[in-house]
Amino acid sequence: AEDCKVGLTMPSLNAPYFAAQVAAVEKAAKDKGCEITTADSQNDFSKQINDVEDMIAKGIDILILNPRDQEALVPVANAATAAGVKVVVMDSTLNPKANAVTQVRSSNDENGRLVGDWIAKKMKGKPIKMLLLSGNQGNPGGLERRMGVIKGIVEGQLVNEGAVNLQILGQGWGDWSTDGGLKAAEDLFQAHPDANLVVGENDSMVLGAVQAAKAAGLEGILFAAAADGQREALEMIKEGSYGATGLNDPDLVGRTAFDIGYKAFKGELPEDFPKLYLTPADVIAQENVDKYHNPQSVF
């Protein structure tokens, strides 16, 4: 009964965000009666290239590619397209020169900017002493997120106060995980006990930082993340112990990516479909958290 074969390849399955995305794509594919194969690159882009090659050999029709590296996956994406596979790039960035149907993701830059703007408003009148929690060195999405936040803060302060009073005291690396965020934050708080703002490139790491602050007995720190909207973070936003995060809904991104790929496979996609499709950006804070909070969410 399955008239279509779908391949889904993820940079890693070892992260709640990706887990949610896989669930979304798998569900969408099964709803359409497609057979789906999921591969886990385990953070290794050469393995991801291998996985895609294997999938092409296997004869998939649609490839949902969440690239581990924005350049390295270009040749194999092109090879897939050349083999007649409909390639949809999902979530992470791939160099636009790659031959794909389209790229679907939330806007790192715009989400970051919105969060930064929110921070500037929230901390109006106070000099900002910020600690940064980054994922891993060399990750372009992370770079876009932190630059987005900084852009938002600077622009916000300029608009609100006419001057920039922002100091970035330090940057720690938390490998996108709660545990890593905790460890990095412990050391950062130690070196900079006067910080009053922690910004992370995703929620998981900031959740770790919240713990570290609690353990260190530090108070009056504002926590924010440039992205995701993880359930635990939303719950804390609701009760007020966490400032804000950017909207990056894995479920929405995943479903959208599959739908576009399926349409292309069926030949129903308009010729002039844009090469980049961004899901709407938003900042989630206490004011609007109820709109996004779903206690049943996988993520």
Partner: protein, 330 residues
Amino acid sequence: MSTTSESAAAPSPFTPRILEAVRHYGTLGIFLVLVLVASLWSDAFLTERNLMNVVRQVASGAGIMAIGMLFVVLTRGIDLSVGSIAAVGSVLCAHLVAVQGYGVPMAILLVIVSGAACGVVTGFFVAYMRLPSFVISLAMMAIARGISLIISAGRPITMGSPGAPLVDFGSGFLFGIPQPAILMLAIYAVGGVVLAYTSFGRIVTAIGSNEEAVRLSGVPVERYVLSVYVISGALAAVAGIVAAGRTGIGTPQVGVGAELDVIAAVVIGGASLMGGRGGMFNTLLGALILGIITNIMNLAGVPGYHQNVYLGLIIILAMLIQFVTARSRR
């Protein structure tokens, strides 16, 4: 007269202890120099709070796993699965407590048993089938990681709100020392006694030193080899529980890449991967040394891209200190 023949001729209580001390001072030398450098480099280093942080980080990082690894390494084996088993421990612990509603003691027991069970599998193939521990434990590493992903469906499991017994464990103190650190030190103490004062510890050391000799002495070598992997698996599960307690969540992301850190701690502590040589106290120092290195880089604000380079250089320097201290005492 030569020291060799001297000690042979007249019982001298010093010789072995001196040898012990040389190795000992090698690692202790690194440790002391590192503490000195760190405290000069950053004022924040020698604060009580920071030291507690370091010990807590080590305890929920490589520290506890290094104890089990030392036993494995003493037998000339290697156990790459520790990080993944810790992930299983972390996820399973949260799953049992939060999803299945088990009591904490029961959950802990079950988690440790399942860690030990992983060790039984690895140990069985290594001890009885004589397959290379590197490959078998690599396989177990993949299997355990997969299991942790399957149990958790890839996302963290919240274990309970602050105030729940385990959740407070990670951040709690006892006599002013972080609870995980106390747990770790207690296990080191037990491990040290087992290693030096029980037939188990001596036979494990002997197996790495000359397995054939031990076999010819009528010792059932296989059983001992099996048990070191069981110990390693059980302690990795404990490390997973500590990690879960520290963050309040169980997640399959625990311990990715930890195996190299853990083995490095053991080797920096002077143990030989060729088996037969290594001590508990030095292993603890080895784990602390690694913990201090990453801590000081964060405190001193070494930029991210350069942290790797610094880390490598500091490790090499540290080993050179060991080299020099050990030589000069010859």
